[in-house]
């Protein structure tokens, strides 16, 4: 086990875990987080979360994760995440951060698969007449000059 990257065994375990956390959905046309490209992005982008993620993988595998059926795997992950413990929260953050920047995932959400800069996005003005209900109200703020003068 290297200190600065996951071992092959850890990556294999992570593949199973990530695929349980965010599974593929053929009807929606989205891959799971165990997809080869997404998993590679997850592994590559751990950075300083690596120790926590490694701990989360160890904690999950220690609960016989590999031998559980799908329902029990999902229940285990959801129960562990409900504890808000730092390792499982870090694992979730890394998985989601990589998953929701994959082109296929974004396009299925009807979201452009690109960085925000330099094109940006359009923000409509909206209906400013909604403000008419507020425009002519009396001041809400306290004028200390008047209050302290009396």
């Amino acid at each position: 086990m290297g200190n600065d990257s996951l071992s092959e065994a850890e990556i294999d375990a992570l593949r199973e875990i990530a695929g349980t956390m965010v599974p593929a959905d053929a009807a929606l046309g989205v891959p799971g987080a165990d997809d080869t490209a997404i998993l590679a992005d997850i592994v590559k982008s751990m950075g300083r979360d690596l120790p926590l993620v490694r701990k989360a993988i160890a904690e999950i595998t220690a609960k016989s994760f590999a031998s559980l059926d799908r329902d029990k795997r999902e229940a285990l992950i959801n129960d562990m995440h409900g504890s808000r413990a730092a390792p499982i929260v870090a694992l979730g953050r890394v998985v989601l951060g990589a998953y929701y920047r994959d082109d296929r995932v974004l396009l299925a959400l009807k979201h452009e698969a690109r960085a925000p800069f330099p094109r940006g996005y359009i923000l409509e003005q909206g209906d400013w007449s909604l403000l008419d209900a507020v425009r002519h109200r009396p001041p809400l703020w306290r004028d200390d000059r008047k209050e302290l003068a009396t």
Binding site: T20, M21, V22, P23, D25, V30, S45, G47, R48, R70, R73, E74, I77, N78, H81, G82, R84, G92, R93, L96, G97, A98, Y99, Y100, R101, V105, L109, H111, R114, A115, P116, F117, P118, R119, G120, Y121, I122, L123, E124, Q125, G126, D127, W128, L130, L131, A133, V134, R135, H136, R137, P138, P139, L140, W141, R142, D143, D144, R145, E147, L148
Partner: protein, 534 residues
């Protein structure tokens, strides 16, 4: 300039206040040097240039230095606080990674003792600062809409950010309830302004603006100050302010990027390191003459820390809204800002209405809240949330408590071996009652907007932790650290210009007031140059 060259004015810190005071003093033609422990930021480095833009707000652009962990950061022991310290160490300081929300404090915030019988009045008032607020609005470039009945009259130089779909959702709900709302003032340029490009909606711009539309002092004050002759030296981490045999500030000892120690002599020292960094520096500057820390005869250096508790209440509507395709800043409400005794607490809060989130942050945030399941139901629930999110922040006034404080950690040190700050902070009973009131009102608003799945985070993920009050301003040297124009009572050539000098914090984001106070202090210094040390 060599290290041994004496300067007239040494400014420590290049953030919101340091930049403003440098620019203001530049017209005096004094020799002014600013030492900054971080680097210049490059717009090409900001996250929205890349596909990993959302994930980077949890790594090298996290607002919390302990998580960000850049080598220019210093650690903070905030274990004994429900709120965490947010800052940024680089040219521009916290303005690089703020939301650009730009409310002013209210006149009543400066007179809470006289008006409400709590805490202390400031020795100055809103009206003293008004022209500096206006000047700062022009310098930073503020967008907003005049005519807000919730705040004193003022005229932002640019039109407001569009309402968008999300803003209209809130507006209809607020009109249904009959409560005040108004488009927020913000330092995001809505039109080309003084060399800055206008906002093109790059998403949440808290972790820096690649377009340069969000005002940070590295692109507003600093270019002008440097052109006027001020020197800004980066990668210089100040360890202590030294004093001479007369008890006057002599200069500062700092480490350069290579860890080499230098002494910079100065006639005047101005500290602008924020409400945590400033008390840390003063406490680290203890000496035989100042055994309890520099300028600390009152014992108040580090005390009265105010962090602005900031509950976040969110929900999801059926309509598709703006999501994360625009700045988070949207609307504010001042309906509950001023004291109303019937509410069971004094002072009040601003309601801050936010836009939604980008794809990854939506998932990360709702998973952290326990609202987004893992497994086969993940996609269905996510699709009900993505671009349907509404969220309101409750910006609570946080009255000063001496027990809330910054001290030096006995163990923790930064990479130069300088003792790190420790935070001890608890939310007061008054603030807790205020928080609960605000949470209930926010839930009413979201319900009126048609939202379900309401969720409240009392000390929210990414809550700001504004840093205020730890070297308070006042006329009584036994009850304050600096006088009514920012000069330390104990050391007559030492000034403090950042949020440390706040006597109260108001229920607003503080940067507008921090900079206005800095401009006011600089103006006072300029008026008193002939007898500055008397």
């Amino acid at each position: 300039m060599s290290d041994d060259d004496r300067v007239d004015v040494l400014i420590i810190g290049s953030g919101a206040s340091g930049a403003a005071v440098a620019w203001s003093l530049a017209e005096t033609k004094m020799r002014i040097l600013c030492l900054e422990q971080g680097d210049w930021m490059k717009s090409t480095d900001f996250p929205t240039n890349g596909r990993d833009w959302e994930a980077r707000r949890y790594t090298d652009f996290d607002i919390f230095p302990n998580k960000r962990g850049r080598d220019t950061d210093y650690p903070v022991n905030d274990d004994n606080s429900p709120m965490k310290v947010a800052n940024f160490n680089g040219v521009g300081g916290g303005t690089v990674i703020y939301t650009a929300h730009w409310p002013r404090m209210h006149p009543s915030d400066f007179k809470v003792k006289s008006l409400d019988g709590v805490a202390d009045d400031w020795p100055i008032d809103y009206w003293t600062l008004e022209r500096f607020y206006d000047e700062n609005d022009r310098m930073m470039g503020v967008s907003g809409l005049p005519g807000d009945p919730g705040v004193p009259p003022h005229k932002p130089p640019m039109p407001p950010i569009p309402l968008g779909k999300t803003g209209m959702q809130y507006a209809k709900a607020m009109n249904k309830l009959g409560w005040h709302w108004w488009p927020s003032d913000t330092t995001i340029a809505t039109m080309p302004y003084e060399g800055r490009a206008q906002c093109i909606n790059l998403g949440h711009c808290t972790p820096g603006c690649a377009q340069g539309a969000k005002a940070s002092t590295d692109i507003t004050y600093w270019p002008l100050a440097i052109r006027a002759g001020v020197e800004l030296r980066t990668r210089c981490r100040v360890r202590e302010v030294t004093t001479d045999e007369h008890g006057m500030a002599a200069g500062a000892i700092y480490y350069d990027a290579d860890g080499k120690e230098h002494f910079q002599p100065a006639e005047v020292v101005i500290v602008a390191c924020n409400g945590v960094g400033t008390p840390r520096l003063l406490l680290n500057s203890a000496s035989g003459k100042f055994p309890n820390g520099l300028a600390n005869s009152s014992g108040l250096v580090g005390r009265n820390l105010m962090l602005h508790p900031w509950p976040m209440i969110s929900g999801y509507v059926e309509e598709t809204l703006d999501g994360g395709r625009a700045p988070i800043t949207n609307l504010w409400s001042k309906q509950f800002y001023e004291t109303d005794a019937s509410r069971g607490f004094v002072r009040g809060y601003t309601l801050q209405f936010n836009r939604g989130m980008g794809p990854a942050n939506q998932a990360i945030t709702s998973a952290a809240a326990g609202q987004l399941p893992w497994g086969r139901d993940h996609h269905r629930v996510y699709r009900e949330m993505f671009e349907h999110r509404v969220g309101i922040g409750v910006a609570c006034d946080d009255l000063p408590e001496e027990s809330n404080r910054v001290t030096l950690d006995p163990v923790l040190k930064d990479s130069n071996g300088i003792p790190a700050p420790r935070i001890d902070y608890a939310i007061s009973d008054n603030t807790r009652r205020m928080m609960e009131h605000g949470i209930a009102r926010a839930e009413e608003i979201l319900t009126a907007a048609g939202a379900t799945r309401l969720y409240c985070s009392r000390t929210a993920l990414n809550a700001p932790g504004h840093l205020l009050g730890t070297a308070r301003m006042g006329t009584d040297p036994e009850r304050s650290v600096v006088n009514e124009w920012g000069r330390c009572h104990d050391v007559k050539n030492l000034f403090i210009v950042d949020g440390s000098v706040f006597v109260t914090g108001g229920g607003v984001n503080p940067t507008s007031t921090i900079q206005s106070v800095a401009l006011y202090i600089a103006d006072q210094m300029k008026q008193r140059l002939a007898n500055l040390f008397d």
